[in-house]
Every structure is written in structure tokens, then in C-alpha cells.
């Protein structure tokens, strides 16, 4: 018996040792390729949104490699799942930096995960290209932001709605820093314009039952017409659109949302029809670059998936291309300082039009667009700013 217990103890120790040594195995990068890391939620709460991001990143890498790579070097990539969990994001980003020795990282969607990995980027001095529109922050020295920020959305969205829809706004949002930020921005703009905020409400992200909020909207907005400025995430957002339409309020009031995108609109169908969206890219943009992007996407992942490509997907596509351009400029001297420096002023003819990295704050110049969701689920651009807009992430 004693022998058995001892054997178990020894066995346990040995397994653990083997595990420890297995962890030591180093992969490293080869001389004829450049290794980058992709980190997206392949499982977890936001995996739906991040699917088009991941696909676009792979598409862009394949295209670049097919065109001969970067200065003759192929892009090699590792992909990690952070499962919409900031702690896991920290872990896998560290793994990519320390184990896989990546030169740069592309990915992440949630603000929590971005905030969580920033200290690691600073510590190991590895650049992250963050392809998500978000609430804006003091730019981090190691992050390139290829999504738009509120001043490239709301500054045009709110006045447009004020002019074209109604002077009354009911502000609604998931209790996130993002929704808080843009709703506060909207409130300020509405006051400046002379409009009226009739309601302002945050709900927790697990609310999928909106009876009481719809009742309040109906009661406070009355018969004057109203913009429901609803920045609700994920399941909560789709539930609101559905229930709002079912309550028969779509004719009286108009929903406008930063978060509305093609993955929502194609699924929601008529429930989302005639609602407004605002972001820098819509699937329906009529340009050669966009057509090429979507057809390549469709060929690789299926036509149905191409119809649900969203702004974050396109931003990831841009992110990989911008990164490759920056790496190209580095030549054989690929260091983080060079990569970051080369981003400044870099331009790319993206599917959404030409975008340029602002060297002052690592964000991109892009056009503001406002879209109207059609009954078939596509989003038609109804407004486009004349020129690209300077990003102001701390505004």
C-alpha cells in the first residue's frame, strides 16, 4: 500500500515536471518570415461579432502572402482565443509575446481586454493594432487604433438625427464605459443644438426583457416623435430592437445606434428596418476596393458570411494591411520603435476609402458615415462626410 501511495506521489511529480518542461519548448520565428499574433474571441460572449474580424485578418494575411509577402518575407501568424475574458486576454497576449515571439499583435474587441493588455504591451514593447471602434482614451504608445472614435461618429450622427428625424432624444445604453461615453457626448451635443433629452438610462448587459423601458419610452416621448439613441450590446441590443418593433413603436419613433451593424441587421430583418446606424464603414459601400474585399471574403468564407461583414471586420482587414505596410517600411530592421514610428502618416486604400494614421495619437483619419437599415437587412449610406475627419480620442 505504502508503495502505491509513493508511486502516486512520484507519478504526480513527474507529470508536473514533464508539463513544466513542455512549457519550456520555444518556437521562435524563422528568418524568411515575420510572425504576428492574432487574438480574437473564438468562443465566449462576443464571438459572433469577432468572427468577421478573425476572418478578415486571415484574408488580409493570405492576400499579402499571395502577393509576395513583406519584402519577400511571408507573414506567419499564430491565433489565440481570449474567450471574451480580459484575464485570458492577458494570458494569451503574454504567451504570444513570450512563447511565440511575435513581432506585433492584431486583435481584441472588448475595452476591458484592451485595457487589461496595455500594461503588458508597454512592458514588453510589442505593438498592438486594435481594430475596434471604441469610446476613446489617452492613446497608448504601443497601440494603433484602426477603428473610429466618437468624434468621427457622434459629432455628425446627432446633428443629422436632429435635423432629419426629431429634436427629442431618449438616451439608452448598456452599462459600459462605451455607452456612457457616447451617450454623454450626445447629451452635450443635443444641448448645444437646442434639442431635448427626454430620458437617459443605462441597463445591465444581461437585460433581455425591455417591457418597462419601452413603456417609459412610450410615456415620455409622447406623440412628438423621438430618436431612441440606443447603444445596447449583443443579445440585449437585438432584444430591444425586436421588442420595440413588436410593441408597434417603430412607426412613431426611430432607433439610432452606434452598435447597429450588418451582423445585427441581417439577423433582425424587418425589426431593424428604418433605424439609423453610424460608423465609418458599411457593407454596402459602392467602391472597387470594397467589392474586391467582399468578393474575396465571400469566396473564402461563403457569401452569407460576406453579407454580415461589419465595420470591425473591415477595420481588422485595414489593421493587417497597415501593419504590413509599416513592417515593409522597416525593411530588415524590424523593431517595435520602427514599427510604431512608421505607422505615422501611413495611408491605405481601404474598402471604406482612404484612411491615414494620425501620428499624433495613433488613431486613423476616416470618413463619418450614417446608414439607414433597409428591410432586407442591408445598411444604406445616407450621409457621408465630405472629407476624412481627424480623430480626437480624448474628446
Amino acid at each position: 500500500m505504502k508503495k502505491l501511495t509513493r508511486m502516486i506521489a512520484v507519478l504526480l511529480t513527474v507529470t508536473m515536471m514533464v508539463l513544466a518542461f513542455a512549457g519550456c519548448a520555444k518556437k521562435g520565428g524563422s528568418s524568411d518570415s515575420i510572425k504576428i499574433g492574432l487574438v480574437f474571441s473564438l468562443t465566449g460572449g462576443t464571438a459572433i461579432t469577432e468572427e468577421s474580424m478573425y476572418n478578415s485578418a486571415v484574408l488580409a494575411i493570405d492576400e499579402i502572402n499571395a502577393a509576395g509577402g513583406i519584402n519577400g518575407k511571408k507573414i506567419e501568424y499564430v491565433v489565440k482565443d481570449y474567450a471574451t475574458d480580459p484575464d485570458t486576454a492577458v494570458k494569451v497576449v503574454k504567451e504570444m509575446i513570450l512563447q511565440d515571439k511575435v513581432a506585433a499583435i492584431v486583435g481584441l474587441y472588448t475595452s476591458a481586454s484592451r485595457v487589461a493588455v496595455e500594461p503588458i504591451l508597454e512592458e514588453y514593447e510589442i505593438p498592438l493594432v486594435y481594430p475596434t471602434f471604441y469610446e476613446g482614451e489617452e492613446p497608448n504608445d504601443y497601440v494603433i487604433y484602426t477603428g473610429c472614435v466618437p468624434n468621427q461618429q457622434g459629432d455628425y450622427f446627432v446633428p443629422y438625427l436632429y435635423e432629419n428625424v426629431s429634436h427629442n432624444f431618449y438616451l439608452l445604453g448598456t452599462d459600459t464605459t462605451y455607452a456612457q461615453g457616447i451617450n454623454a457626448q450626445a447629451e452635450a451635443l443635443i444641448k448645444e443644438l437646442g434639442g431635448k433629452v427626454v430620458g437617459n438610462e443605462l441597463v445591465s448587459s444581461d437585460v433581455t426583457e425591455f417591457s418597462d423601458i419601452i413603456a417609459k419610452i412610450k410615456s415620455t416621448c409622447g406623440n412628438d416623435g423621438c430618436v431612441i439613441y440606443a447603444n445596447l450590446n449583443g443579445d440585449s441590443g437585438t432584444a430591444f430592437y425586436t421588442q420595440f418593433a413588436a410593441a408597434g413603436l417603430s412607426d412613431k419613433y426611430t432607433i439610432a445606434s452606434f452598435i447597429m451593424d450588418e451582423s445585427f441587421s441581417t439577423a433582425l430583418g424587418s425589426a431593424a428596418a428604418n433605424t439609423y446606424a453610424s460608423v465609418n464603414y458599411f457593407n454596402s459601400i459602392d467602391s472597387e476596393a470594397n467589392k474586391a474585399y467582399l468578393s474575396a471574403y465571400g469566396a473564402k468564407f461563403g457569401e452569407a458570411k460576406a453579407a454580415a461583414v461589419t465595420a470591425v471586420g473591415e477595420a481588422t482587414y485595414d489593421a493587417v494591411y497597415l501593419l504590413s505596410k509599416s513592417l515593409e517600411k522597416c525593411g530588415n530592421d524590424i523593431t517595435t520603435a520602427n514599427i510604431m514610428a512608421n505607422f505615422a502618416g501611413l495611408s491605405f486604400d481601404a474598402p471604406q476609402g482612404t484612411i491615414t494614421v494620425d501620428g499624433d495619437n495613433n488613431h486613423i483619419y476616416c470618413k463619418a458615415r450614417i446608414g439607414l437599415v433597409q428591410a432586407d437587412g442591408t445598411i444604406k449610406t445616407v450621409f457621408e462626410s465630405d472629407d476624412v475627419i481627424k480623430p480626437e480620442p480624448t474628446k
Partner: protein, 310 residues
């Protein structure tokens, strides 16, 4: 640096508002909405209460069963165009059979061991969720409202589908009550809960009783999932949003009485609706949950425990 106006507004947002002028019509509307929400909550927690109350099993896979039910609704009703009523019945039957499978293969080994059942149901919930992710893909799936009319009663409106949901909820409750209180099987279930050994001695196969109880609980969860599918979109993560609410409801209602669950559904949803009328709905949620806990402290067995033995 920050835009001055924006900064000022950021400060403002911490003095949270949300309160709006109240009037009779709004209060009436909120009460009606609250009642609808209460029935939805009742429907979604019924299966959980039954499994917890009659079997002392904390079923962490409950909310994933809601999710599975919603997917059944999507594939049967939206894709195969089977009539909605039949879809609901099918959702119940399929979930019932699934519950049977789970009970026979997994849960039956762990009766009376709370930790083990918890672990097993947790593992099942992970597996169910990941399978849904892999099998049904990453996209939002929409189930159209089976009926879309909106009824107006004076100043108060109500969506016809919400009424139907209330009806489904009541039917599920009444059906369960009849099943538990009036049928032979129900008597067996109650006696098994009271005294397992004794029931066994009377020649009743308690294993069969357990299977039926668990399957019925899972069936109800599947039915509820199918019924709430049109309210939102159907995704693999649908279960997550129901976790806190359903468990909270069971805590307040007490596990030994279905009437307790009915009452607590109403108390929770009506108070959230009314409080959110005055202040913001998150604080409403937090306050209600804390009040619930205080109530339990005073009545540890839950609000409505049956007084004597019947």
C-alpha cells in the same frame, strides 16, 4: 485634452438620472409590463424550481436548456415552418427526452451529493454551450413573432405575443400543478421528496420518479426557451443573461412551493419596473436583489413555504 463640454457631461453622468415624470398612465403601463415580465420570469424559472425543490439538485445547465429550447424554436418554427403551438410541444418533448438522457446517464449517479451534481451540471452546461457554438455557428438568429398585433386597453398597451407568453406561463404552471397534485405520478414525486426510503419500501421505483421529475424540469426549460426565442435573437450565449434572474427568483420564492415562485416572480419584476420608473434600472435591480436577501433572512425558507403537511 478633453473637450470641455464633454468633460462636464462626464461629471454629470455620475449623478445618475433615469427618473422621469410619473403619471397614472405610466404607472399602469409599468405595472402591466411588470406583470408580463413576471410571467416570463416565472416561465423561465419553473423548470429550475421543480428540479431544485423536488430533487434537491442545483441544475446549472438550466439556462443552457433555455438556450437549447430557443434553438429548437428557431429550427422548427423559423426554418421548418412547423406551426408555433406544435413547435412548443415539440420543444417540450425533445427537452424532456434530452433531460431523460442526461438524468439516466449522469445525474442519477449523484443523488444526495450536492457538490457532485453541481459539478456535473456545470460540465453539462459548458458542453451544451460549446456544442451550440460549434453546431449552430456564430450568428444572430431571428425568430419572428408568431402574432404581432398590439392591443390597446385605455392608455395601456400590451403586445399580443406577451399575452400569449403569459398564457403559456400559466398553462405550464397549471399543468405542472395538476401533474404534481392530481396524478399518480405526481403523488409519487411528492412522496419521494418527503421520504425516499419509505417510498421505495412501498414498491415505487424512485429512480423512475427521479427521471420523470428531472425530465419534466428540463422539458419546461426547453419550452420556456422556445417561448422566449422571439423576444430576442437566438445565440449560443442566450443562457447567460438569464442566470442571475432565474436563480434569484428561486431564492426568494423558496424551493418548496410553486406558489412562492409565482409570488416572487411578481414581486421581483413589479418592483424592478416601478423602481426603474423613478431611478435607473440597474440600481432598481440591485436594490430589489438586496431587499430579496433581507426578506430571506427574515423568512429563511423562502417567502411561501407550505404551512403544515397536507
Amino acid at each position: 485634452m478633453s473637450h470641455p463640454v464633454f468633460k462636464r457631461q462626464l461629471d454629470l453622468r455620475y449623478q445618475k438620472k433615469g427618473g422621469i415624470p410619473m403619471n397614472g398612465a405610466l404607472i399602469g403601463q409599468l405595472l402591466v409590463s411588470g406583470a408580463c415580465s413576471a410571467f416570463v420570469l416565472l416561465l423561465t424559472s419553473l423548470g429550475l424550481v421543480i428540479i431544485m425543490g423536488y430533487m434537491k439538485v442545483v441544475n446549472l445547465a438550466h439556462t443552457e436548456m433555455l438556450m437549447a429550447g430557443a434553438f429548437m424554436c428557431y429550427y422548427l418554427y423559423s426554418v421548418l415552418h412547423i406551426p408555433f403551438v406544435i413547435t412548443l410541444i415539440l420543444a417540450y418533448v425533445i427537452s424532456f427526452l434530452f433531460g431523460m438522457l442526461i438524468e439516466r446517464t449522469v445525474i442519477c449517479h449523484f443523488y444526495g451529493k450536492m457538490a457532485e451534481t453541481l459539478l456535473a451540471t456545470y460540465a453539462i452546461s459548458i458542453i451544451m454551450k460549446q456544442l451550440a457554438l460549434i453546431l449552430f455557428g456564430k450568428s444572430y438568429k431571428q425568430v419572428a413573432y408568431p402574432v404581432s398585433a398590439v392591443l390597446h386597453i385605455g392608455p395601456v398597451y400590451i403586445e399580443s405575443y406577451k399575452l400569449i407568453l403569459c398564457l403559456i406561463s400559466i398553462l405550464a404552471l397549471v399543468g405542472t400543478l395538476v401533474f404534481i397534485n392530481k396524478t399518480t405520478m405526481g403523488r409519487k414525486i411528492r412522496s419521494t421528496t418527503q421520504n425516499r426510503t419509505m417510498t421505495n419500501c412501498l414498491g415505487i421505483d424512485t429512480r423512475k420518479v427521479d427521471t420523470i421529475t428531472f425530465s419534466h424540469g428540463m422539458g419546461l426549460a426547453g419550452l420556456a426557451g422556445a417561448a422566449i426565442a422571439p423576444l430576442s435573437t437566438v445565440t449560443y450565449s442566450l443562457g447567460e443573461s438569464w442566470l442571475t434572474n432565474t436563480f434569484m427568483n428561486v431564492v426568494l420564492g423558496g424551493v418548496s412551493s410553486l406558489f412562492g415562485t409565482v409570488a416572487s416572480s411578481f414581486i421581483i419584476q413589479e418592483s424592478i419596473a416601478v423602481i426603474s420608473g423613478f431611478s435607473n434600472s440597474i440600481m432598481g435591480q440591485i436594490i430589489v436583489l438586496l431587499v430579496v436577501i433581507v426578506i430571506i433572512r427574515i423568512k429563511p425558507e423562502g417567502l411561501f413555504t407550505p404551512k403544515g403537511r397536507r
